[in-house]
Symmetry: C2
């Protein structure tokens, strides 16, 4: 089975790790949101891409889920002493990634090429693709004005009330080289348990997948698409997904997730604790433990999802 996973940050990275331990490398492509990317201190930072790569390489901080294991904070401490902004935590090892990526972008290399080379250096087998080589920027429209994503997410700790989202640069951006080929060859597509509004929607909108009518397809056949719920019992495992649904007037639940992706999904993966509400879901549903606390959890879930996908056809 050739699988394409669409991923944001921590949840997406854990799910991707599960598939990476289950499928041969050439059968897995992970397409990662770049709407969170931003420039800070002159560096080009790709939080989701780095979280996915660090996780796949076994370099991620197991406690936070983002950043590097055994990280040090010397640069940040000096920045703080100099009165600089310290709301976005840049670890010393992590800085090496941003520095080398920035250097290569400035010399004209594409983000997808750089990501390919980084993955090779880190010993990552599956193909990791940024959704686009062109900048797409998620803007969170809030009661306190429009905020670039990292400002909303990290600096303001998701406190402003959300009114909507837009993805600047989307019309000028195209999917990165390799995404189309991966989607054409895919036997299944998995939407990882990432935030639908700010991690997955940027990818779907970039592909032109915005409604049943508008959704073009990249190849002659459309493989099954399955989403893993980022909500368990109405709560996000991590991040503001539930808060965003609520502020947009939508009851946060697996039903909201199914509805969000309604023109795309052939199946949904839901936590066992949602078994009661899952009875209202009208598409094939896999009920299982979807909270990934250990590496073993990730692998088990990946295997169950692949069996579920096979049962759909």
């Amino acid at each position: 089975m050739k699988l394409v996973a669409l991923a944001g940050g921590v949840g997406g990275a854990k799910m991707a790790y599960g598939f990476a331990q289950t499928l041969p490398p050439h059968q897995l492509t992970i397409i990662v949101n770049t709407g969170d990317d931003f420039e800070h201190f002159g560096l080009y930072i790709c939080p989701d891409l780095d979280t996915v790569c660090y996780t796949l390489a076994g370099l991620a901080n197991p406690i936070t889920g983002w950043g590097r294991a055994n990280e040090t904070w010397q640069a940040m401490q000096n920045i703080k002493r100099l009165g600089g902004p310290d709301w976005f935590k840049l670890g010393d090892q992590d800085l090496g990634t941003h520095l080398e990526r920035t250097r290569r972008l400035k010399q004209g290399d594409r983000l997808s090429e750089i990501t390919r080379d980084f993955c090779r250096a880190w010993g990552i087998g599956p193909t990791v693709l940024p959704m686009s080589d062109q900048p797409v920027r998620t803007i969170v429209e809030t009661d306190q004005g429009d905020l670039p994503f990292q400002e909303y997410f990290v600096q303001r700790r998701c406190e402003p009330r959300v009114r909507g989202f837009r993805f600047e640069g989307l019309d000028q951006a195209s999917p990165a080289p390799g995404t189309q080929e991966a989607l054409e060859a895919a036997d299944a597509i998995v939407i990882c348990p990432s935030n639908p509004w700010v991690s997955i929607d940027p990818i779907l909108h970039l592909f032109g997948w915005r409604s049943r009518e508008e959704t073009p397809w990249f190849g002659p056949r459309r493989p099954p698409i399955v989403a893993v719920s980022p909500l368990i019992a109405g709560q996000a495992v991590k991040g503001p997904a539930a808060k965003m649904f609520a502020e947009l007037g939508i009851e946060p639940s697996v039903l909201a997730i199914v509805d969000h992706y309604r023109w795309l999904l052939n199946g949904i993966v839901v936590d066992s604790s949602d078994s009661e509400i899952a009875k209202q879901i009208k598409i094939p549903t896999l009920l299982t433990d979807i909270l990934m606390q250990s590496a073993a959890d990730r692998i088990r879930l990946a295997r169950e999802i692949m069996e579920f996908i096979e049962s759909l056809s």
Copy 2:
């Protein structure tokens, strides 16, 4: 006595430290070469300015003379793993300086303002000024072509044979705010034991001090100017000064130093080991131990130079 010191990197920083321990803060201004500055990994790096500031703040690496004490190299190790260039060593603490400087330059602050704020944060009393807020770039003309300074100095280890130097951007640059006032108020100017060709000449040329005829003055009176030889027994204490003199067909010695600054100097400070050759010097000469191995050496030398300057008037 109000003193202005003109400084490059390690030698200049040690000399400046000596004066900083000897004079009240408001009586000392250090004007630092920025011809070595360069952009690397998207960061704006000022090697001489940082060496002077780290030294004055007691943060410098006592072994190398440049960089930070107790430095770590996590970012650099990751850059190396990713196949990035590692010829210019960027320590983790040091990176904090470059990151915050770059951030502030990008938001429109001037290098002199940023340096002032950094000095305040690091508890540095004397005034440290970059020679200019505009970019001036030292180009080393060699038998292997024209090389930006850091490429010649660090990446090529000063191996190419020198044919000449030029300072790009000099005509569009002006002395940084505060330099003119400091020079007007100065009771003496000390040219630190830095490389005449690539550390001091950029400053002198920026001021328009290129020959006896061409040397304008900033104020109504010209204070005595004294140089401390960067050569001892024909050898540079550090760096390529002696090699540069030789490759330009000039015997490297204190005589060459006196000749290099001939239209400016009222006195020269020479190492005791050069006492024989010093007999040929036709301007007032202070013979003393000028090798600064300890903090005590720096302070003693600074005091002797101040006494020497007083003896000149």
